[in-house]
Subunit: 220 residues, 2 copies
DNA sequence: GGGGACAATATTGTTGACAATGACTCAATG
DNA sequence: CATTGAGTCATTGTCAACAATATTGTCCCC
């Protein structure tokens, strides 16, 4: 069951519901997050909401001022670049580790993802490509077995989610990033740790290049 | 004023007090953190304690289970290695950025830190050397201007603090790490981004080497 | 008409009580 | 003697009321 408000009820924690609603844009950057309003929205008391606000604040998704409430954090392009630089450092580590730990089943799965990506780009199914993109990065994190880095990357991805989204709908961008993803998978499959790290870093610094071009002409 | 319990009162937040008490070993790994006990200790209500627990949990310092309370997380050697690998990825980014942003005042300051380090090692003032070590890394983060990476590194350092401490009192270790720190500073001062990143990575992977040797013979 | 003091309102921070959940004790039973 | 069950206890999760604080609006005086 999924309601139109975008939350499933008390099955998952209020923190997860609120995080999802922020990431999906139900609460745009800068929006005030009033405790009593959120409590009514999610059908719980203020304490649960407060716990969620504390947690999301430490994740960098919202900012809280004492006695002045919480609001959705507005991520500048400059900060999005720093976030992606951090991701580049950590995801290259993860890619190298995945190349070391790879097995045959994982090799087949990664190849399949690239195949699906090519199809999605060819047929201009941008949404599917975006999903496959997330899937590829997630599976690489899982294969690496590096839980510490994987956890940090997850939080960083969330923080820059808005900017990442704008990237996915940029004309010509999927085709460009497809080749970078293919290079990453090639390196991981062949077990070349250094090449995997380089390919991943190269991919994310190309993302940074796009963000930097946006820096001069901010949109939305 | 500083009491024997090691907290200053309500001047700083309960989160900071609790974090400090965990890092200084007042609450050893595995210790249960009971809300009502902490509330009495810090002279506040349970809600403030709960907020602190939520935050420290997301920092990785404690683990919380629903309806079962919180306890200080026990960091295995394996996890300490992963944490240091993450730090290596992020601190090498920071070192490179510091090398790019360096100015003359910072150059003089970094040189002075190395000079002080040499003196501390020569006179076997291990505690002083440890402080200078923290100072050097912190100043490099500040000079880099990379707040995102600096923040993540801070949290990672906290998580592995216990293991780092054991490292500082290891015989012969300060002398070894001194040369690595000197190499980092040399590269940063000369503005060579790649060399700075390499030197920092080299330093932290030498830390990992020590941790790995400990893995076979865990102490304390 | 403008500025500052002051009251009114709205919102967060805190406390205390109660409900819900899990762990433990101990006896009864096979 | 081990096991299972009910009952008890300790602890966390939740809620509602109250206090503290910031914001807004109003009135008076200049």
């Amino acid at each position: 069951m999924r309601t139109t408000t975008g939350h499933d009820g008390p099955t998952d924690s209020i923190t997860d519901s609120l995080r999802r609603d922020i990431l999906t844009g139900q609460f745009p950057p800068g929006e005030r997050l009033q405790e009593i309003t959120l409590a009514r929205r999610y059908g719980c008391g203020r304490s649960a909401v407060r716990a969620a606000l504390v947690e999301l604040s430490s994740e960098g998704l919202i900012e809280r001022e004492t006695n002045r409430g919480a609001k959705v954090r507005r991520i500048t392009v400059g900060e999005a670049i720093q976030i992606t630089e951090g991701r580049a450092a950590l995801e290259s580590l993860v890619a190298a580790r995945a190349a070391r730990e790879i097995n045959d089943a994982d090799r087949a799965e990664l190849s399949q993802v690239i195949t699906d990506m090519r199809a999605a780009v060819a047929e201009e199914r941008n949404s599917d490509y975006s999903d496959l993109n997330a899937l590829l990065h997630r599976r690489l994190r899982e294969m690496s077995g590096h839980t510490v880095a994987a956890d940090l990357i997850n939080k960083l991805r969330n923080r820059a989610a808005h900017h990442q989204y704008r990237l996915a709908v940029m004309p010509g961008r999927p085709a460009e990033s497809l080749e970078q993803h293919a290079a990453i998978v090639d390196a991981v499959i062949s077990g070349d740790e250094d090449a995997a790290a380089d390919a991943m870093r190269n991919h994310l610094y190309s993302v940074i290049e796009v963000l930097r071009r946006w820096g001069d002409a901010p949109a939305i």
